[in-house]
């Protein structure tokens, strides 16, 4: 199934270091169209760094990162911005804009499209995105008035508002209670089915991985250690894989 046009994101021999700290040492990854790929790895193993390379927030030292066949480090600013409209990025820290209300936060990614959208249309999109995460009542609050889990869900709503073709989730369920976590996981699956998005989901939450993953990839010591379905990996006897499913 991995024919060329089916691959939306590809990294090959991706290397990224911060001074003496060698984070990624030659990481290979392929994200197929329409699939949910979960990336597992210990804290500090470079998962966030990996997906930041995919949107051009960080540039790799060597190796290849391409999205829709375009090599990220070679794009001009304009091409990169163009490409970024098709990629949604949920930050680990939610990264809501403190000085703006929830509504303004959600409107922010729409700014470049405002020329073509009326106030009502914008409002409709905002309310639809909030409805997706069940937080319509929070529309006029400031981020400082939200709980951690609410911030996460608003962050998700903000990412989804442009209906991106690719979603990169950095720990979408961390810090949420199990029920909300499950809701978010189900939401990720619903988004995949509804908008046919291709997603990379970084998580420590095995329940989330179980619900969302088509494939799971394990990152150890800067390399791709293994890749497989949940059922394959959960049965594994490998001492390096077992701890993840314990």
């Amino acid at each position: 199934m991995s024919t060329e046009e089916n691959i939306v994101i590809r990294t090959e021999k991706l290397v990224k270091s911060f001074g003496e700290n060698h984070v990624l040492k030659g990481f290979d990854l392929e994200l197929n169209r329409g699939e949910n790929l979960v990336v597992l790895g210990k804290s500090g193993s470079g998962k966030s760094v990996l997906i930041k390379c995919m949107v051009g927030l960080l540039y790799p030292d060597s190796g290849l990162v391409s999205v829709f066949g375009k090599e990220i480090p070679k794009l001009t600013q304009l091409e990169l911005d163009e490409l970024r409209t098709k990629i949604g990025f949920l930050f680990q820290s939610s990264a809501l804009y403190d000085s703006m209300t929830v509504r303004e936060n959600l409107e922010f990614p729409l700014r470049r499209h405002w020329m073509h959208k009326t106030k009502d249309e914008v409002n409709e999109l905002v309310m639809e995105a909030l409805k997706n995460v069940g937080l319509e009542r929070a529309v006029d609050l400031m981020p400082s008035e939200l709980s951690g889990g609410m911030r996460k869900r608003i962050g998700l709503a903000r990412t989804l508002i442009l209906k991106p073709e690719i979603m990169l989730y950095d720990e979408p369920t961390t810090g949420l209670d199990p029920i909300t976590g499950r809701e978010i996981s189900n939401l990720i699956v619903a988004i995949q089915e509804k908008y046919h998005t291709s997603s990379i989901i970084i998580t420590h939450d095995m329940e989330c991985a179980k619900i969302v993953a088509n494939r799971i990839m394990i990152l150890i010591d800067g390399f791709k250690y293994t890749v497989g379905t949940y059922d394959e990996l959960v049965k594994s006897d490998d001492p390096k894989i077992k701890p993840f499913f314990a």
Binding site: K52, V55, L57, Q77, D81, R84, T85, I87, F89, F91, Q92, S93, A95, L96, Y97, D98, S99, F108, P109, R111, R112, R158
Partner: protein, 256 residues
């Protein structure tokens, strides 16, 4: 830290700030323009600094007048009091004190705001949502500072001169008409113009250094504090350096 590494750190800092300034001029004048954010920043930077600047200017004007009187009286020149105070306020005290106050208030708040946006990945989030954060955050703040500081200085000058009028009248009586005539007769083009022009540079320096420190703040909450603090220190220093240069240039141009 060794002398060598401190010197190279200083030089690389100078280089980085120059590069940052260069980027401002390259990006700042290309569309799209962030008008609403610019006006919001003008409001925050200009209007909200007004009370502090006003109070300081008032006190400076009053104190300067009261303290200059004995010396002038000694030389039998008490009638020059309004003229002397006016010249010192307009030429030096107004611009520099206002700029220093703003370096403290505006510089630190820009440094802290952008610093915390950097630390909590808000700047990255802007970047991936296709809005150029440099334009949206940096260019607007720097332009707002550059435009608002001269206005604040002119207001501060006015308030300072009014306070000086009160100071003059604490002992002896000078009518408002006489006072203003004396003040405006004493002020020449070469008093007002160089002083006004340098305030644009003061404003620019405060904006660009506050933004630079915040934009490249280090990770962690500690980084935010450092960004705010060093924004104030460096921009205050820059104000004096610019003042020094401005005096030399005005001298060369014969505007003394």
């Amino acid at each position: 830290m060794s002398k060598q590494s401190r010197r190279s750190e200083f030089l690389s800092e100078v280089g980085n700030i120059s590069a940052f300034t260069g980027k401002f001029f390259r990006e700042g004048f290309k569309p799209r323009y962030e008008w609403s954010e610019l006006f919001r920043q003008c409001y925050i930077i200009g209007y909200e600094s007004l009370p502090l600047v006003g109070i300081t200017a008032f006190i400076m004007g009053l104190v300067l007048t009261v303290q200059s009187r004995p010396t002038l009286e000694e030389f039998g020149a008490a009638s020059y009091l309004p003229a002397m105070v006016a010249v010192s306020i307009v030429r030096e005290i107004g611009p520099v004190i206002t700029a220093l106050i703003c370096a403290g208030k505006i510089g630190s708040s820009i440094g802290a705001e952008l610093g915390s946006m950097r630390v909590t990945e808000q700047i990255d989030a802007m970047e991936v949502s296709g809005t150029n954060p440099f334009k949206y955050l940096v260019v607007t703040r720097v332009i707002a500072c550059t435009m608002m500081l001269p206005i604040l200085v002119v207001l501060a000058d006015g308030i300072g001169l009014y306070a000086s009028y009160i100071g003059v009248n604490l002992k002896g009586i000078v009518s408002w008409n006489l006072y203003t005539t004396q003040v405006f007769e004493s002020l020449t083009f070469s008093d007002v113009m160089p002083a006004l022009v340098k305030t644009y540079f003061f404003g620019f320096a405060i904006g660009i250094i506050g933004c630079y420190k915040g934009y490249f703040s280090n990770k962690g909450t500690e980084g935010v504090g450092i960004a705010a603090n060093s924004a104030v220190v460096v921009s205050s220093l820059m104000i004096f350096v610019i003042d020094l240069i401005a005096v030399q240039i005005a001298d060369i141009l014969g505007l003394t």
